[in-house]
Amino acid sequence: MDYSETVMDHFENPRNQGTIENPDGIGEEGNPQCGDIMKIYIKVDDNRISDVKFQTFGCGAAVASSSMATELIKGKTLEEAWELSNKAVAEALEGLPPQKMHCSVLAEDAIHKAINDYRVKQGLSPWEERAGKESHHH
């Protein structure tokens, strides 16, 4: 597996790793094929993600994607955070090997679940996944 130095950096020194006590939203996503699991915790203030943490059971790409994705949505509005695609995560990591793209999808999906968890708890209707979006079940 040839990972970029950015992937290895985020893998070895993961940003935002851990949990949030009393989070405003939690999203958990797993890939049944590879068995990996990612959990995202968010704190929302004023429609912005004021804090975010992750826990990941998974490969190097999964850990690095969690770390990078949480960095990218921290401080962003929920709308902005929703728009974060797995491709953007992979790009920010300076690329992922083709068979590891699904690991970044896990991050996108876990964030969406956390946002919708928050929305539902707020009594709002969940946002819908855009059509034709990449799946982590390949």
Partner: protein, 380 residues
């Protein structure tokens, strides 16, 4: 710490190979004098391999590696006997060189029975006996498993196969040079080996084919290898394989004792980590193999961390394979999916020292702790 994957060529083996690369380049199947040197060197290697297995030199056929030997033995027997029967017996923990070959043969109309293994990865010979049908043409069970190191009851299976008149092939790629083998007393009809697993060259292997075995070539072409395996002989490779095997066998007793000591120390130390378990059989296992599961964490990430500490290792995790399927070996041993992903295989070699084991016992627990801190599965 990944000696089961591949080993470097020993210096004395390399020295023996080089003249055949640069000078005596004759083709051993042709007439001229220069070829005679090659021919004699190939004959010597054939005797060396035969001696290591208790076989006759003319029962040894050189190939390009363990994969070719496995493919040839299995496809060769099946195509040669397809009018007699179409049933193959194997185990669910074979190397892919065997299992994927069997799967392909299933698509060609053959039928395969997979004898289940117990939690240590052991095949029960009685199960093999019970699975034999009138149309069974081949039993193929590996000698020792490459992931968990379990050594199968080959002599018992061989006895059953011989009594029932069925051909018995064993993939001994992990065993040859590491475990005493005698094809005669073990009733083995065909045996695969691979040069780079015992400090011989990569891209070399052999198939032992007992005299009574009929099989179709995998490589059609020239008259090499008694017309059974075509292709210009890889003379330097063959010379290297022969010598490396002879050396391994002559040093086997000593090496094994040394490795077992280190292995046991490594296992004992790793099992001190809470929620860790040994995979494979505690006694009937290769002296170089350690395979441990750490719950709540994933294998590829262990490997990456180890890699950063300068240690090469292997895992049964799906994330480390391009197929995304977790180890079929650990799954066959009955390990639940969540746990299969956290396995770590460390295989030691003659060059492993006590200090290496100590270093591992220092870094692995730290890595496990770090990854467990990160894992959503770790109980709070």
């Amino acid at each position: 710490m990944d000696n089961a994957a591949t080993t470097p060529v020993r210096p004395e083996v390399l020295d023996a190979m080089i003249p055949f690369m640069t000078h005596s380049f004759g083709n051993p199947s042709s007439l001229y004098d220069i070829a005679k040197i090659s021919r004699e060197a190939v004959a010597k290697a054939r005797s060396q391999v035969a001696a290591a297995l208790g076989a006759q030199p003319k029962e040894i056929y050189f190939t390009s590696g363990g994969t070719e030997s496995d493919n040839w033995a299995i496809k060769g027997v099946c195509f040669a006997n397809k009018n007699k029967g179409k049933h193959i017996i194997t185990s669910p923990i074979e190397h892919h060189a065997v299992s994927h070959t069997c799967e392909w043969l299933e698509k060609q109309g053959f039928e395969v029975t997979y004898i289940p293994v117990d939690k240590y990865g052991l095949v029960n010979p009685d199960d093999v006996s019970a699975a034999i049908r009138d149309d069974t043409i081949l039993i193929t069970i590996m000698f020792a498993n490459n992931e968990i190191g379990t050594i199968e009851p080959i002599a018992e299976i061989g006895k059953i196969a011989r009594e029932r008149g069925i051909l018995f092939h064993t993939d001994a790629v992990q065993a040859v040079g590491h475990v005493p083998i005698d094809v005669v007393s073990m009733n083995i009809d065909m045996l695969s080996l691979s040069g780079h697993k015992f400090n011989g060259p990569k891209g070399t292997g052999a198939l032992y084919i007992g005299k009574r075995v009929k099989l179709v070539p995998l490589m059609h072409g020239g008259d090499q290898e008694r017309k059974r395996r075509a292709g210009t002989e890889n003379v330097p490779g063959i010379v290297g394989l022969g010598l490396a095997l002879e050396l391994s066998v002559s040093e086997m007793k000593e090496t094994t004792e040394h490795l077992k000591e280190l292995r046991n120390r490594l296992i004992d130390g790793l099992l001190k980590v809470p929620k860790s378990h040994l995979n494979g059989h505690p006694q009937m296992r290769l002296s170089n193999n350690v395979n441990v599961i750490f719950e709540y964490i994933e294998g590829e990430s262990i490997l990456l961390m180890l890699n950063r500490k300068g240690i090469a290792a292997s895992t049964g995790s799906a994330c480390n394979s391009s197929s995304l399927e977790p180890s079929h070996v650990l799954t066959a041993c009955g390990l639940p999916q969540e746990i299969v992903h956290g396995s770590l295989r460390l295989t030691i070699g003659d060059m492993t020292e006590e200090g290496d084991v100590d270093y591992l016992l220092e870094v692995v627990p730290e890595i496990v702790q770090k990854l467990r801190n990160m894992s959503p599965l770790t109980p709070q």
